[in-house]
Subunit: 196 residues, 2 copies
């Protein structure tokens, strides 16, 4: 790992929470230099511009959540319990550093959908990956006869993700956990319904 690669990683790690909290338009280059302690020259020596930093920061944020999910899923053998990992994580998302400014998928989607194609694409891909992760758990669960055969798994994933992201939004903006908990409870009900 060369020096520049380390610096690049350092910049990403320091700015990722920033982008997640303040958004792409709300994060300035001086925010970036301030957070890293580096100068513009150094930033631009490692990235083509603000865009590239933001894109890398999103990947970092999404990757963090993904690795936590993966790790916790591995600890649970049953498909239904694997799906409930999402509920455990997002029920207390404020406690997770990676989700401090809210869910990066939600934040990026909402900001970028009408303003920033590259970021929008990243967010869209992230959702695709999320869909696939859920469907994969369902498929495995079906093979083990833990999950019912007779329901549309794509439909399940869509409503499931919507509940989680909607719940996160409610918690962040109201400052209360009522809405999030209600959404999580509903999502849990959905899981219990597809589990035999």
């Amino acid at each position: 790992m060369t020096k520049a690669e380390k610096t690049r990683q350092f910049i990403i790690e320091k700015t990722a929470p920033l982008f997640n909290r303040k958004g792409y338009a709300g994060t300035s280059l001086s925010d970036i230099t301030e957070a890293t302690g580096l100068t513009k020259g150094s930033i631009y020596g490692n990235f083509a511009g603000k865009d590239e930093v933001a894109l890398a920061a999103f990947d970092h944020n999404f990757g963090l959540v993904g690795s936590i999910v993966k790790k916790r899923m591995a600890e649970r053998p049953k498909a239904a319990d694997k799906l409930k990992v999402y509920l455990d994580i997002y029920s207390e998302f404020m406690k997770l550093p990676a989700l401090n400014g809210g869910c990066p998928v939600l934040n990026t989607s909402v900001e970028a959908d009408d303003t920033h194609d590259a970021l929008k694409q990243k967010a869209s891909n992230a959702i695709d990956a999320w869909y696939k992760a859920i469907q994969s758990v369902i498929k495995e669960g079906r093979e083990k006869k833990e999950i019912r055969q007779k329901f549309d798994e794509k439909e399940f994933a869509g409503a499931f993700i919507a509940l989680i992201e909607g719940g996160v939004m409610l918690a962040k903006v109201t400052g209360k956990t009522g809405g999030l908990k209600a959404a999580m409870k509903q999502a849990e009900k959905m899981i219990d319904e597809i589990a035999k």
Copy 2:
């Protein structure tokens, strides 16, 4: 209605879609002058600053959606059908001018929660109002014996709103309606479950 009041209204109407699409940080004063055809002097003669325009724009956007909901609800006598008004509207939210850039509640919540207290408060209040509107329909439905007694109406509202907003986010960022439809179907199921 004085001239200035007309101009003020004109500015709000022209910039409200802008703020909903590009967000607070993403909308500049030149965006505002461009959209209205007016000059900065005129904007600042009617508003104290960008903040005040944004706040008024949010009220306008939220009010538009609210009035559509109210109108359509009035056409339906049954409580369950009143609740389904939200599903009808958000299922095809792209067709509604007021929801062109997505749901203003969602957009504003996600952007402002960590960056703009006044806007955050407005979004939070909007959600409060939404909660109350749902609870009011439920209460009325219960009095008419159309809605079951034995469930937590706040919990219902929280999950219901989360589903809708999550679904809108999915539709906007993926460009496909699958996720939104799945969320709406789940929300409809929720309504059917509380209706006798």
